[in-house]
């Protein structure tokens, strides 16, 4: 062997895997953040429902707080349950 790797600094970028481009509640792209936040990424995370719809966490939490009776997904009106995959 003439050449071997001693160390390697790799670089990778991450983004959310969402089933849509935009949040169904605030309509902002998932690559950005919800209207209340300045910074996308860890500070404004996405969450998935068991119905497989996905929202900015801040958006769905606000939505759920505004629903008095039933905790429903704003997209499919099924009962909302967080999917902790």
């Amino acid at each position: 062997m003439k050449v071997t790797i001693k160390n390697w600094v790799g670089v990778a970028t991450w983004k959310w895997v969402a089933n849509d481009d935009n949040c169904g509640i605030c309509r902002m792209p998932f690559d950005g953040c919800c209207p209340d936040c300045k910074l996308p990424g860890d500070d404004c995370p996405l969450v998935w429902g068991q119905c497989s719809h996905c929202f900015h966490m801040h958006c769905i939490v606000k939505w759920l707080q505004s629903q008095q009776v039933n905790q429903q997904c704003p997209m499919c009106r099924q009962e909302w349950k967080f999917n902790n995959k």
Binding site: M1, K2, V3, T4, I5, K6, N7, W8, V9, G10, V11, A12, T13, W14, K15, W16, V17, A18, C26, R27, M28, P29, D31, G32, C33, P35, K38, L39, P40, G41, D42, L46, W48, C54, K85
Partner: protein, 804 residues
């Protein structure tokens, strides 16, 4: 002090002593007639008299004689009791008899004495005797006659004296000299006469308001005869003007003579009427012509120096001989003729040159002179502003000078700041105007200054920039921030800054974390947290990556996977924070692919809902390379590594083969090969030799490679930033702006629910930090309406409603 003054002073002293001897206190000894009451009166007066005479002796200047004469007169007037006191003589059985020829004899004595004084002869009688004579005449109701007789004597004398000035052919200067001597003599004589006739002043004059004091009577007669004769008066004034003009031309003139004669005019109360008007007209005429002429002949610095000199001279003129009341109008005349009328011309002709050549002294003078002129500073400030805009534009507008633009801007700002601080008295109007001018010209070229300022900062923050200490760097960054403040398209700066910051962070090229953080906090302070949040996010990613790598190593040792001895670390970047990088699918050796898979799996197990994308353009490695003469460590990019690793199984490879085996993009590959085979450290040999990599080239591992160092960094050749790449960054900025406008509109509409077009636009302008045209905003609103984020109000098309 000249001899004349000196002599006068001695004489005055002498007079004082005499009048002491004859003071009213001792007077009571001689006067058998006065009662107790009267004694008290005279004593009261005496207190004031002695006050006066001590005042008198303090003054060394002969002109004080006259003013003292007036003072004394005033004091006596003030002393006039509110209720008139009368001398009442009672209880005397018989009046002492006066000799029959008392009046003639006494007056004869006095007349003799006055004539002696007027003709500068020795006086036969003692002053005490003369004083007593006056006193006795006053007591015996002869004061009126005495006063009138004295008036005739003085009248005759003054008239005779004036006659000598009527001769036609007298040299002007001699005329003035003679006039001055006459005046001086008059003053001297009147003082002596007044001393003798003191009692007259204190009784007769004091009790008769309409009667002038002896001193004033003298002045009045002098004035009368000069005033009466316009020829004499004109000759005096013209002579004075001639002397002053001579002095203004640079000759030395007899200032004492000027002063004495001007004081004479003042004392005679004809200074304003006879002299001042004519003097000011002459001044105006002279300086009007001089201003016109010198503005042509001299350059501006010399002209300013001349004006300054003239103003000093005229002030001295006031100090030395003119009446102080003339000063405001005199100086104003000079200012008007030499400055006010030439303000525009001076600025047009000279300001740019002075600023260009940094002539601080001349600029200070310009500022102080213009301060004398109404609106002078405003005009100067306007011209200063124009200069900065004109000069600044040449710095930013020419693409040829882009390399030096930022340094030139910094130097220019320093120079202008310095001028405002040292020459313009830190005048706020000027420093504000300076800022306005910088902001104006720096934005005359869109985007480029912002880009170049970002790159300039990069060059200073990059490792290897050893030219500055920490403090110097800090100061420099502060100065750059001042320029940054003027930039309208701050997002353009951010885009370029971010690109460079990414490079510094990922390749470990940053000179100092402290300096990076300091710059970041400056940007934050200037533009707010929103501006720097993504940049801060980049720093945060770097920190988080460290933790992830520690956990990853832990994970590897826990699971004890079979892997070769590659020490792998990964920087995980949050997509939204960092610049966009072109996606490249390159072929990695199997072991590297395996590493990537293990890492991805590990990372996604910790962070669900995410997708990782590897960025081969940003990776780099340290390689161990075995050469004939020994082992070396090579610090290289991932692309360089991929090429070099191919030579483990081959000695010689063609360009095409390498391209196929690595799948590196053509241009990138050519630059990579160039760096390895044509640079300073040639670990490959190119066949045939040559600078550029051609399609048919072959490459060989250079077994004979030698280098002093053990660890060698082989720089990847950077693609020269092409116009296209530049455009790409600008395009990204543009797209980001669209996105930001959309977000702002939605934010505002969501909060307001309904809003008129104009109000929405003005709120947007408050929120958006970059220049944007109203037409662009309109387009974005239309687009949002199309996408059902908002709608036009059905009743009022100028209103929008938010669509929830």
């Amino acid at each position: 002090m000249n001899v004349e003054n000196w002599r006068l002073k001695i004489r005055r002293k002498h007079n004082e002593l005499n009048s002491e001897d004859l003071s009213p206190v001792s007077l009571t000894r001689y006067s058998e007639f006065s009662g107790v009451k009267r004694k008290r009166d005279t004593l009261e007066i005496d207190e004031n008299m002695s006050d006066n005479s001590s005042d008198f002796s303090k003054r060394a200047n002969f002109s004080a004689i006259t003013s003292n004469g007036i003072n004394r007169n005033l004091n006596i007037l003030n002393l006039k009791p509110t209720t008139t006191k009368k001398i009442v003589i009672k209880n005397l059985k018989s009046e002492p008899k006066l000799p029959d020829d008392f009046r003639e004899q006494t007056w004869g004595k006095l007349q003799e004495a006055v004539l002696a004084i007027q003709n500068s002869r020795a006086n036969e009688y003692s002053l005490e005797e003369l004083y007593k004579a006056v006193e006795n005449m006053c007591i015996h109701n002869m004061a009126h006659t005495l006063y009138n007789n004295l008036h005739v004597l003085i009248d005759n004398h003054v008239r005779r004296n004036i006659e000598q000035f009527l001769a036609e052919s007298m040299d002007r200067f001699l005329f003035l000299k003679k006039m001055n001597e006459t005046w001086q003599a008059h003053c001297r004589q009147m003082i002596m006469i007044r001393n003798i006739f003191l009692c007259l002043d204190r009784t007769y004059v004091l009790h008769n308001a309409q009667i002038a004091s002896i001193w004033d009577m003298g002045l009045e007669l002098f004035r009368q005869y000069i005033m009466a004769n316009t020829l004499v008066q004109t000759r005096i004034v013209e002579g004075l003007l001639m002397l002053i003009e001579k002095e203004r031309q640079g000759d030395t003139v007899d200032r004492t003579l000027l002063k004495s004669l001007l004081r004479m005019l003042t004392d005679l109360q004809i200074y304003e009427k006879a002299f001042e008007e004519k003097f000011l007209v002459a001044t105006e005429r002279l300086y009007a012509a001089e201003g016109q002429r010198l503005m042509q002949e001299l350059d501006v610095p010399d002209y300013l120096a001349h004006v300054d000199k003239r103003l000093i001279e005229e002030n001295e003129r006031v100090y030395h001989y003119l009446d102080a009341n003339t000063k405001p109008r005199l100086i104003h005349t000079v200012e008007k003729q030499l400055l006010t009328d030439h303000v525009t011309n001076i600025l047009q002709k000279g300001l740019d040159g002075l600023l260009e050549e940094n002539r601080l002294n001349d600029l200070s003078l310009l500022y102080s002179l213009f301060g004398r002129v109404k609106n002078g500073h405003t005009e100067l400030c306007t011209a200063f502003n124009l200069y900065i805009k004109k000069r600044g534009r040449t710095i930013v507008i020419d693409p040829e000078k882009d390399k030096t633009m930022v340094q030139e801007l910094l130097d220019f700002k320093d120079a202008m700041d310095n001028i405002v601080a040292t020459c313009f008295n830190k005048n706020e109007k000027f420093s504000n105007s300076l800022k306005e001018a910088f902001e104006n010209f720096i934005n005359q070229r869109t985007n480029k200054p912002a880009e170049l300022i970002a790159k300039f900062v990069d060059s200073k923050l990059r490792a290897g920039n050893k030219e500055a200490t920490e403090e110097e760097l800090e100061r420099l960054l502060d100065k750059i921030m001042v320029l940054f403040r003027f930039i309208h398209g701050k997002d353009v700066f951010e885009a370029f800054y971010k690109k460079d910051l990414a490079k510094r962070l990922l390749v470990g090229k940053s000179a100092s974390v402290d300096a990076e953080k300091s710059m970041l906090s400056k940007l934050k302070q200037e533009c707010g947290g929103g501006f720097t949040s993504k940049l801060e996010g980049m720093f945060k990613d770097m920190e988080l990556s460290k933790d992830i790598n520690v956990a990853f190593k832990q994970h590897l040792s826990n699971t004890s996977q079979e892997l070769s001895a590659i020490d792998m670390t990964v920087n995980i970047l949050t997509m939204g924070y960092w610049p966009n990088y072109p996606l490249m699918n390159v072929v990695l050796p199997e072991e590297m692919v395996k590493f990537q898979e293990i890492f991805s799996k590990f990372y996604l197990s910790k962070h669900s809902g995410r997708k990782l994308t590897w960025q081969p353009t940003l990776g780099h490695c340290v390689l161990r390379a075995k050469f004939k003469l020994g082992m070396k460590e090579l610090v290289v990019s991932l692309f360089q590594s991929l090429v070099l690793l191919l030579f483990n199984s081959h000695d010689e490879l063609s360009f095409d083969y390498i391209k196929g085996a690595t799948n590196i993009e053509d241009g990138e590959l050519r630059r990579t090969l160039q760096s390895l085979a044509c640079g300073r450290a040639r670990v490959l040999n190119k066949i045939p030799k040559g600078r550029d990599v051609e399609d048919n080239d072959k490459f060989r591992f250079n077994n004979d490679f030698v280098n002093k160092l053990f660890r060698i960094k082989i720089n990847q050749i950077q693609m020269k930033e092409t116009t296209e790449e530049q455009k790409a960054t600008e395009e990204r900025v543009f797209q980001d702006r669209q996105y930001q406008i959309d977000a702002a509109i939605v934010r505002i509409m969501k909060m307001r629910k309904t809003l008129s077009h104009n109000l929405l636009i003005s709120e947007l302008y408050l929120q958006l930090k970059f220049p944007v045209k109203p037409a662009d905003l309109k387009k974005r609103i239309e687009s949002l309406i199309d996408r059902d984020y908002m709608e036009r109000d059905k009743d009022n098309p100028n209103h929008y409603n938010y669509v929830a």
